[in-house]
Symmetry: C2
Subunit: 269 residues, 2 copies
């Protein structure tokens, strides 16, 4: 469920509201390795809703998912939208976030950091799609095909919608383990990297401290996978090795061997 002023900026092109509404739901299916069967949409429609319909058509066409139902209302206040995506599991068991076991290796499919700068740019620029990382924020790509392949080997899987640190904490708590991440291994998106360079850092230097921003902001919709396998040896899906699963210790998540303090990511209220 997303609402104007809460989950997106007033003035956002409705095309991207529709795209993102469906994309975040398809990303949840991707995290289960599920094949989408259809979506149902509840939408506040007003004048100018043609762009919403265009965005809806665009993502449903792109991922070949039918619209199978829903409802529309004419709102009297800020608009709100809901989406239910229905899918069919392609593996048994279905990957869940509680399945990570000590000895598992941890991977990320996709890249982190672009959406954070996309959001900042939308705040500054009124939501116009001007650069690559604005697209990452407004038009995320659910990793459906990747999720189906990764599900075959996954002990646990979830999408990183609220930041790597926070979502890894959730996986660790649900699984009763500690997750040890290596900051240098966090896959940073190219726009994020380039932004850091524009900020005057050297090509390597910024990344040492730069992981924290990329790992504590959501909306990138990468997949976090715990597995017994060496996914580097699988050529089907590009993944980055980011950490190890340890027996549960004092802390849910360690980065470079140290506990993490401060905000971990986007906490839903």
């Amino acid at each position: 469920m997303i609402a104007e002023g809460v989950h997106y900026l007033p003035g956002t092109d409705p095309f991207y509201i529709a795209w993102k509404l469906v994309a975040v739901n398809l990303s949840d299916l991707a995290a289960k390795g599920a094949e989408p069967l259809g979506v149902l949409i509840g939408a506040s429609l007003t004048d100018g809703s043609e762009r919403f319909v265009e965005g809806l058509r665009a993502i449903l066409t792109e991922y070949d998912v039918p619209l199978i139902g829903g409802d529309t209302i004419r709102p009297i206040g800020p608009a709100a939208f809901g989406c239910t995506a229905i899918g069919r599991a392609t593996t048994r068991p279905v990957p869940c976030r509680s399945g990570a076991r000590p000895g598992n290796r941890l991977y990320v499919a996709g890249e982190l950091g672009a959406a954070r700068y996309g959001h900042a740019q939308c705040v500054a620029g009124g939501g116009v799609l001007v650069e690559g990382f604005v697209e990452a924020y407004l038009k995320p790509r659910p990793l459906l095909a990747e999720g189906r392949i990764l599900a075959r080997d996954a002990s646990a899987m979830m999408d990183i919608s609220d930041g790597l640190l926070l979502d890894a904490t959730r996986m660790a708590d649900a699984s009763g383990v500690t997750i040890a991440l290596y900051s240098a291994a966090i896959p940073l998106s190219r726009p994020y990297f380039e932004q850091k360079r524009r900020e005057g850092r050297g090509p390597f230097e910024p990344l040492a401290g730069g992981w924290r921003e990329a790992a504590s902001w959501g909306d990138d919709y990468a997949l976090l996978v715990a597995t017994d396998y060496m996914l580097e040896q699988s050529s089907e899906v590009a993944t980055s090795f980011v950490g190890d699963v340890l027996p549960r210790g004092e802390h849910a998540v360690l980065v470079d061997g140290q506990p993490v303090t401060g905000s971990l990511g986007y906490e839903h209220r």
Copy 2:
């Protein structure tokens, strides 16, 4: 999808918002003869949402339906709620609104008119549950068990959510037929009947003109069924014979042989 100020009055006890949100969706399943498998809820929750949770628990317990997913947000404007109900068809074919055929007999399961007065009373009294027909408006009962039985014999079926006249028009248009209703046969609810009497009409007299109000207001969630069978002879579900299905003529719906003018019911905008 329902929104504060659009589908319910501000100040309505959130218990009934939750109940009705789920009830109207289960009613759609009832109209398909489907067995509910679960519901997903999207809800704007704020302080005082305990009553929403209580209402949700009440109807899900009453109809033995699990909550299988959803999302919550903290709204900045009027609240909005969405529900997706998932069910499994119990008959093949699944009854649809386009299946009515000339020669079918038309039945209503349930009664009409109570919700209209319940709404009026809520407007006057601030949504307090004081009488039987306020309950009909705020706490409708989806006819799930009845729908499953009726589905076996139905050529077409739908729930009457926007008024008998309007929904019969929709069935007639979808089926390419004319529906002839008999006003005296429209099953009026007891609270509606009693209200008419309180308005000073005789016990029979008001019903002659009284059908129009009851037939052009929704929210009663009765079922409208077109069938080849004489449902009066079935003791399993109480139904009222209300009309006949005719070959398509000039008008979609006739009442006592005459076309209907003016508002037919609740038109969603």
